[in-house]
Symmetry: D2
Subunit: 138 residues, 4 copies
Amino acid sequence: MLYQSEMELEVRYYETDQMGIVHHSNYIRYFECGRGKMMDDLGLPVSKFEEYGFVMPVSSVSCKYKTPAKLGDKLRIVSRVEKEPMARVEVFTQIFNQNGDLICEGEVVLGFLNKDTRRPTRAPQEFVDAFKKAIVNN
Amino acid sequence: MLYQSEMELEVRYYETDQMGIVHHSNYIRYFECGRGKMMDDLGLPVSKFEEYGFVMPVSSVSCKYKTPAKLGDKLRIVSRVEKEPMARVEVFTQIFNQNGDLICEGEVVLGFLNKDTRRPTRAPQEFVDAFKKAIVNN
Amino acid sequence: MLYQSEMELEVRYYETDQMGIVHHSNYIRYFECGRGKMMDDLGLPVSKFEEYGFVMPVSSVSCKYKTPAKLGDKLRIVSRVEKEPMARVEVFTQIFNQNGDLICEGEVVLGFLNKDTRRPTRAPQEFVDAFKKAIVNN
Amino acid sequence: MLYQSEMELEVRYYETDQMGIVHHSNYIRYFECGRGKMMDDLGLPVSKFEEYGFVMPVSSVSCKYKTPAKLGDKLRIVSRVEKEPMARVEVFTQIFNQNGDLICEGEVVLGFLNKDTRRPTRAPQEFVDAFKKAIVNN
């Protein structure tokens, strides 16, 4: 494993639907929250990406739903990168509730685009360095 | 009254919450859909605003909720501008369900910013003209 | 192929993100809109599911993103069921823009729960019948 | 003032729009997060309301937008109740960024419905007691 990051997050009322559970689309958003925390932990916050000249569009997502999350749940989001980022970075995420039940898990693949040209690019040096530095410190 | 526009819209599943009704924040979004339709009708789609060099941030919203909308409802959104746009434009919106019940109503005030400087500006000429042309045609 | 359904949908402003494109999580919601239209076409609207005593939680989603959708785009959502629903139903969805470009495509698997017991159940008779009737009429 | 509660919250990527700022509808959702934290602080979490037999639909919202929030912002949400809850409760909310700038402020009025009959009811005893106990402890 290359790097792992965790965060906690509480279910918000508007994220529930009329089945009384968190709407399935919101876990895709929680995945993104987890990735944001990972980039913060790596010292390269997403809000700085554009300064470094790139954006990171999502090229695919998958998610398997195991146990529904509910209002009042405090979720733990575990994000993991297993391979060194090249033209893409793959992030595997698991979400657990306060009882340790697996809520869902999935994988998101992201690419890199030059901010101005909007053309695909390799992982920018700052991005690769953030991971390298983290591995050394681990 | 200066101008009025209408659109229809169906409630989406993810817009409901665990009370079994449309979450109150979504009507603020429906208001925006209504304004988008109004600008389409006026021949100046929101997607063209930036080409004309401005953006329109919202400076205030208010909404009174009367009857909850539910999954399966087909809503009618009526947007109305009563005064000529100057530094601001005020849009009054009412939402009705398929039975004619008033779901909610409210007012949104928007300003104009120069797209590049992000400084407040008067209503751009294209915007004012769109309304003027519409009034003549009414 | 068992059944196919289509709908049109316009990108909403709040669905865009600061990359200037539709946020990737929203396509998962568009998929759901497409499924809702399919059930309407089949004569069994989602808003009636609970009357028939079941709910349909999502058990997995996947989506591959091809071309970003933008404000002003009019999207066509094509939903397809290829196998007869048993304990699960699999819906394959493709989204195209007004130029015919493939925006994204993916698959959603849904299960059936008894509304009261929240226990898994086979596809309810009304549900299976809706598909059977549609096939005969095709 | 009867009661005040605070929470912190970070802007999420999907909450931004193509203007590069948090979409105005999301502050209405942040207001709700602030109210949820207030109820937690009062010892009566929203997730327990239904156990106590009531739901709290929103009857009106208003919001004035002062400074746009951006990705990377850490917001402070201050929720205040000034009058004892009767048939309604009024919550005044202010949102500040990490620099102390006022992002927006507004008021939300909520009613009480009996969970089963969906008829209006006075503030349930548990709800009033939660406030009373908090005032004594303040």
